[in-house]
Symmetry: C2
Subunit: 253 residues, 2 copies
């Protein structure tokens, strides 16, 4: 939480640089070794956590803003990041609003009034990330999906909405490019899908179905060293992968 002096400073700054009453909230899903986490922030004063977010610079495309915000929190670049919905009920408001309501008169407090929030979700490997708190928080950390704390405001809704969208997306878009090491085995990729869907999949059928997408290439040599039969290594065929990203998988009608 900011001191009154820092708040005044921030408000003046924000008024100059940022679009008013617009915020971006990111649901950053982190994966590694069959685990799935979400990146959350916390202030020292409050018990509730909140999603990483930020504001849009006056001359900045909103996708760039989301990328920048993510970069500031995770250090990561070039990751899967997608807008999925706007949250804008009048009774919601950027939580800083409530937090700083009493410190400054509304005219001087940039956080006062109604905020719309544009929801983005991202998929990252949480081993690549060293979470960085922002200027409002003391803590930025990965939280397990089945150990979620209570969230501020409508961040619960935003989070659930992101998860639903992700699971739907899985049906007609490839994922995994920046979530897997360059080379990986089929069981490892399957684990990723199972984690997202929270559901067991058949080993053999998964393999055939994924291969049918045509976005993987198999290496000649299997990975040695495991306690059992060495599985083949695969890597993403980037051309087909990005093609599938824009085209989508399955027809329907």
């Amino acid at each position: 939480m900011l001191s009154k002096e820092r708040l005044i400073e921030f408000s003046d700054d924000a008024r100059k640089n940022y679009l008013d009453h617009i915020s971006i909230d990111c649901v950053v899903f982190g994966f590694h070794g069959g685990q799935m986490k979400v990146l959350l922030l916390k202030t020292p004063d409050e018990e509730k956590w909140y999603l990483p977010g930020g504001f849009v610079l006056k001359q900045e495309p909103i996708d760039d803003a989301a990328t920048r915000i993510l970069q500031e929190r995770t250090g990561l670049d070039k990751i899967f990041l997608q807008q999925f919905r706007v949250f804008g009920d009048p009774d919601r408001s950027k939580f800083h609003n409530d937090l700083y309501r009493d410190m400054l008169p509304a005219g001087e407090n940039w956080f006062s009034g109604r905020f719309l929030s544009i929801g983005y979700y991202a998929l990252v490997d949480f081993f690549d990330v060293n979470p960085q708190p922002d200027q409002f928080s003391e803590l930025c950390a990965w939280r397990d999906l089945d150990d979620m704390p209570e969230l501020q405001l409508d961040h619960e809704l935003i989070f659930k909405s992101a998860l639903d969208t992700l699971r739907l997306q899985l049906n007609y878009q490839p994922i995994g490019y920046n979530l897997m090491p360059k080379d990986f085995t089929m069981p490892e990729l399957q684990k990723l899908y199972e984690t997202i869907l929270d559901k067991k999949l058949d080993r053999r059928n998964f393999q055939r179905r994924v291969l049918a997408f045509g976005i993987l290439t198999r290496a000649d040599k299997p990975r040695k060293g495991g306690a059992h039969k060495a599985p083949y290594l695969y890597s993403f065929d980037l051309e087909n992968y990005t093609n599938a990203l824009t085209e989508g998988f399955k027809g329907g009608w």
Copy 2:
């Protein structure tokens, strides 16, 4: 186009009542008898057309705002209306911006500066609609999909994006409730799907597939009067329909 006096009046009004720098644009698809149209507006001064849009009242949920805007243009209520994306590149701006740029200094002109637009799309029966121009336009009319005029700004992009979303949506959501008369025949419903997809579908397979959704109930009596065999009449089973709307159709993984 507004006169300078009306512009001043509007700007003062807007500043009091609307959220700043946020607009809503609606892609209203109109259907009837195998035709598909889009609702567009035009000013007398400009050759280019634009999508019906509007602004969000300070205490209004954004979905309500979209509903209200649609109601003002079409007179319709309770129709399928869905948010699909935010458009917010800095080089876009509500076209009124350009239109009125020179009439007032930026400080007094509410339209000055960058606008974000929230895209909604709607499906209606254009026979139910008597298009109403807004205060900026002289004309509000249905335009055929294969006779589209050039559109202002990024409205071309918004329109295309809406059409893509609609076609995708068709794979896992029921449609048609407010596009068909209360009772309708299977060929009529098929025509709707073919129009949206711009693609012929097999008569018999369409029937079986749609029936398998379980959202239709067949009436006892067929529709008489046609020049050929009388087809059965169907109507939507509203409970199953709304259920399918929230649940979605097909699994995937």
